[in-house]
């Protein structure tokens, strides 16, 4: 109270039009709102510039003098040395497979989640997909090794049921198959929730219209539901591919070192070989591929028809 009095007194004698110019408040608050994004732009952009800069620097092993100048040798090496081409290829192949399987599994799940009349079924589906999604990835991956591993549930079951002898092993980890399963499992929630959003937006009277014109449920699905949910499918596929292609922990844990996707190769180059320029070049290549994919998605889902 007593503090407020001199404050008010000090303000009272202000004479003349001291009002801020119209719109000034709005503008300043607008700039304030931009601050966080500006921060992000500056730091993200700076990191990218730094990455690119390193990717064209000549490399010298620790202790040796670095030659001056710029070079594209790292890019040439990344795109010609079979070891790294192989890593890029494995990344592409596994991401593609995981995306296809996540879409095949995710579409029926999302459809059921959106269309079921039972609130219980819906809640059950949402929880089954959301709970693993909210669990730490490393925990989930180790849990998956308990199922897929050489002494895991599936192998034990196969031996117990007599499908395999005790000397046989069904190899579900330490190979592409295991990593593929792990990636599918990792991207499935993203795919399901993306597709569910697209399906929820779809006007079901369009399906009724198709049925009123003689299309049975299967024909209605393939002629109306699926084509109209394509933007969602493409969005889910892009998200799934990009997430798979940048996977690091999944190939590390389920591949147990024998499957090297691009993130693992970059990690090895930077931390063990200490060839930062080459790691940076690999990262730029991965980034360019991602940007190309996003561009492709934007082209494919560009509005072909209104709303």
């Amino acid at each position: 109270m007593t503090i407020a009095v001199p404050d008010a007194a000090a303000r009272a004698p202000t004479i003349g039009p001291e009002k801020p110019p119209p719109g000034a408040g709005k503008a300043s608050s607008g700039i304030a709102l931009l601050a966080p994004s500006a921060l992000l732009i500056v730091f993200f952009f700076a990191a990218l510039v730094w990455l690119f800069q390193h990717s064209v620097e000549p490399y010298a092993p620790t202790g040796q003098a670095v030659e001056p100048g710029l070079t594209l040798t790292h890019y040439a090496k990344a795109l010609s040395d079979s070891l790294y081409v192989q890593s890029l290829w494995v990344t592409f192949k596994l991401s593609f497979i995981a995306t296809v399987f996540a879409l095949l599994l995710g579409y029926p799940l999302a459809y059921q989640m959106v269309r079921t009349n039972s609130a219980r079924v819906r809640t059950f589906l949402i929880l089954t997909i959301a709970i693993p999604f909210l669990t730490n990835l490393i925990v989930r991956l180790y849990a998956l090794t308990l199922v897929l591993g050489n002494t895991g549930l599936i192998n034990k079951f196969a031996i117990w049921s007599g499908l395999m002898t005790e000397n046989e092993i069904l190899p579900l980890v330490r190979n592409d198959l295991g990593v593929g399963i792990g990636l599918t499992y990792f991207v499935l929630p993203f795919v399901v929730f993306t597709l569910a959003t697209a399906l929820r937006r779809l006007d079901t009277t369009l399906e009724e219209a198709a049925m009123s014109l003689g299309a049975n449920k299967v024909v209605t699905f393939f002629k109306v539901t699926l084509p109209l949910s394509m933007p969602g499918v493409i969005g889910a596929a892009t998200l799934s591919f990009i997430l798979s292609a940048s996977a690091f922990a999944t190939p590390l844990i389920l591949g147990e070192g024998s499957v090297a996707m691009i993130a693992n190769t970059i990690y090895d180059q930077v931390l063990f070989v200490e060839n930062i320029p080459f790691g940076a070049a690999l990262a730029v290549i991965a980034l360019v591929i991602t940007i190309l994919l996003l561009y492709l998605q934007a082209r494919l889902t560009r509005k072909r028809y209104g709303a």
């Binding site: 006007d203 009277t205 369009l206 009724e208 219209a209 198709a210 049925m211 009123s212 014109l213 003689g214 299309a215 049975n216 024909v219 209605t220 002629k223 109306v224 084509p227 109209l228 072909r304 028809y305 209104g306 709303a307």
Partner: protein, 360 residues
Amino acid sequence: MGAQSDIVLQLTDVTRTFGGVVAVNNVSFEVARGEFVTLLGPSGCGKTSTLRLIAGFLAPNAGEIRLQGDLVNNVPPYERDIGMVFQSYALFPHMTVAQNVGFGLQMRRVAKAAAAERIANALGLVQLGGYERRFPHELSGGQQQRVAIARALVVEPAILLMDEPMSNLDALLRAEMQLELKRIIERVGVTTINVTHNQEEALAMSDRIIVMSTGHIEQVGTPLDVYAKPASTFVASFLGRSNILVCEVERRDDSSVCARLPSGGTVVIAGVDAAVGEHITFQVRPESITLKAGADAGENTFAGVVRQVAFMGSWYEYLIDVSGTNFLVHVPAAASRNTFDDGNAVSVAWSADDMVRLEG
């Protein structure tokens, strides 16, 4: 067969509930070949549920639905011979106009050349020739509706179902489309069931109107019947404007009764048989009442005071206070050189024939 085969649709004691709520309650009616029948009622009266039962999007809990004599209670929509126009038109956004109209033909495996001809004819019928390659989002609301009509008619369905087809059009276009749609349907001769809450649309387009309320049928009749002889207070107040009054019978003659209004005064009602002392409800349409300046004497004539005047374009709407009871009176604007103002003393009068007794 004969008369039997002329019944395209037959509903018998059809009931449908949603989680304990009765949406359609024991509804029965028949629709003859070539007839235009409107299901009319306020929202929630069960008219749309009835249409969806006929289309096959809903199955009845009880009763029978027969389409061309066949029981179709559990037949899916795609196996019923129907055409449907949806409130939102429901045009496939990823298909051109021709593909939309041709969808039903494609489902019926009509050969391409024959289909193309039928699509062209259907589009010609709705005056959209040349729009084949457009997409729905490139069309106006009215044009989209025409495509929806063409799409439903091109398959030559046994029955055309329309769910509030005009509700997304603006008033002027709606009036135009009512007439045009009626012309198209008459030309094609298709049996039609139209669902609407719009009484003008129902009156203007229908051969028969089925008035529904809270899941059951209130009245079935020609537009003139339901307007001039409403069966219930609900129908009287839902279709057009009405003065609805309750009075007590004082005297009865051979062909009329004399009854006392609650506000005082007696009315003579023609063609009504009621016991002395009985309370009866009757209706007088606002356009049946004549207004005169000052007091007047005569049968069914009462002195009142003008309480409110509104100019409605082609008519004036007056609210006349007759001893505490408000009467709504419509007077054609062209005929009334001298309009009455607030507070003017007037007399209202109507003919004994213009009073319609209402049940319930």
